[in-house]
Amino acid sequence: MAIIEIYDLIMHYLVIIFATNDFAPWIRGVLGGLVIGAVFGGALVMVYLERKFLGDMQSRIGPNRVGGRFGVLQLIADAIKLFTKEDIIPAKADKWLFIGAPIVALTSGFLMVAVIPFDLLVIKGNEYAVAVSRMDISILYLEAVSGLAIFATFMAGWGSSSKYAVLAAFRNVAKMIGYEIPLGITVISVAVMAHSLDIVEIVEAQSSIWFIIAQPLGFVVFFIALLADVGRIPFDQTEAEEELVAGWATEYSGMRWGLAFFAEYLHAVVGSFIVTLIFLGGWNGLPIVGNLYIPGIFWVIAKTIMVMMLFIWIRAALPRYRIDQVIDIGWKVLIPLALLNLVWSTIIGLLWA
């Protein structure tokens, strides 16, 4: 396993640099750049996988022209197309809100990336989390920052002065008010069970039993609420193509549309990371590998790709809900179930401690 030894060596030197220049700003900067690049790449991978697998599931071929038989360079071709297209701002648009919306969407995505840990290295008794920033309250921070994405949709919808975009923004705000609550309650019940708001410690608390087994109801509620939060298909009323053209992004063109589109996939990737970390055990591997040592970062990324595939599968399999049905599910089903799960996890967490 030569690759794994090289990985360990690199990580070892990284930790030595960390330990000697404690919190040196440029190290944080380099690590932050790497993580942003990795998540950027992750979002690109997700777009590619989505097009390819959706094609397979719907008996189509998918991208197959640019870059060989599997169309691996299709995304680059699309990016070039988006960069060279004319950037149109509608005459009646509210200019600052219109320009600001993609920026806010991307900012919220990148702020979420900052606290996601990829691995925990223990060297000479000291613990080093492979994350841009390790906070005591990182899960609460994630909740807070992911809420900012609503403003992006609202700014785009209101700023465009288009009836489709405004309708999409209204739907999104109405949906979000309902779905942030079960999302928050399930995250809090995970924190209650792990006795910590720090994601690193939440993952460490899952070393004996994953939280998907300890609180399956919480996982189901969290996953559905997350689907609604990132606007994936059973809950993508905000950009229902058949009803609203392209939803809140209708009036966008060129790279502005590209950024808005990209921010959405960024949120989906970060969402799959959160599912992996707080329910699927993060860097705790499966016992089936035996004595073979596999780096934690491999587990995190493998599980994240599994969750991404689940997103794509759901998109291919399920039809879209009507907006009133979505609001009904949020308030009448998910919130009571989330509260039930909070009670369950409090009791189990107290007994378990």
């Binding site: 009646k92 609460l140 909740e143």
Partner: protein, 85 residues
């Protein structure tokens, strides 16, 4: 030598005062709502400067995430200025 913390403090203060003035001065009610959100976020910045991270995050969660969205939800139900027509 002055404390370097004065620089972020000054920047956040200017943003907060400016956006607070814009809440009252701007013609369109949506802009007021967004400036209100910016003012609330800069309050979170002050808490970070005071190294009260938890209060800062809760400020964003409650004031920006909940109350800001509530204000926008209320604004959504008003009519838009028709003078541009």
């Amino acid at each position: 030598m002055i404390d370097l913390q004065i620089i972020p403090f000054a920047i956040i203060s200017i943003i907060m005062i400016g956006s607070s003035i814009m809440v009252v001065k701007s013609k369109e009610v949506v802009h007021s709502a967004f400036h209100c959100v910016i003012a609330m976020m800069s309050a979170a910045g002050f808490y970070v400067l005071l190294s009260a991270q938890f209060v800062a995050v809760v400020q964003i969660l409650v004031y920006v995430g909940a109350i800001g969205v509530m204000i926008l939800f209320a604004v959504m139900l008003t009519t838009r200025n028709q003078e541009v027509e």
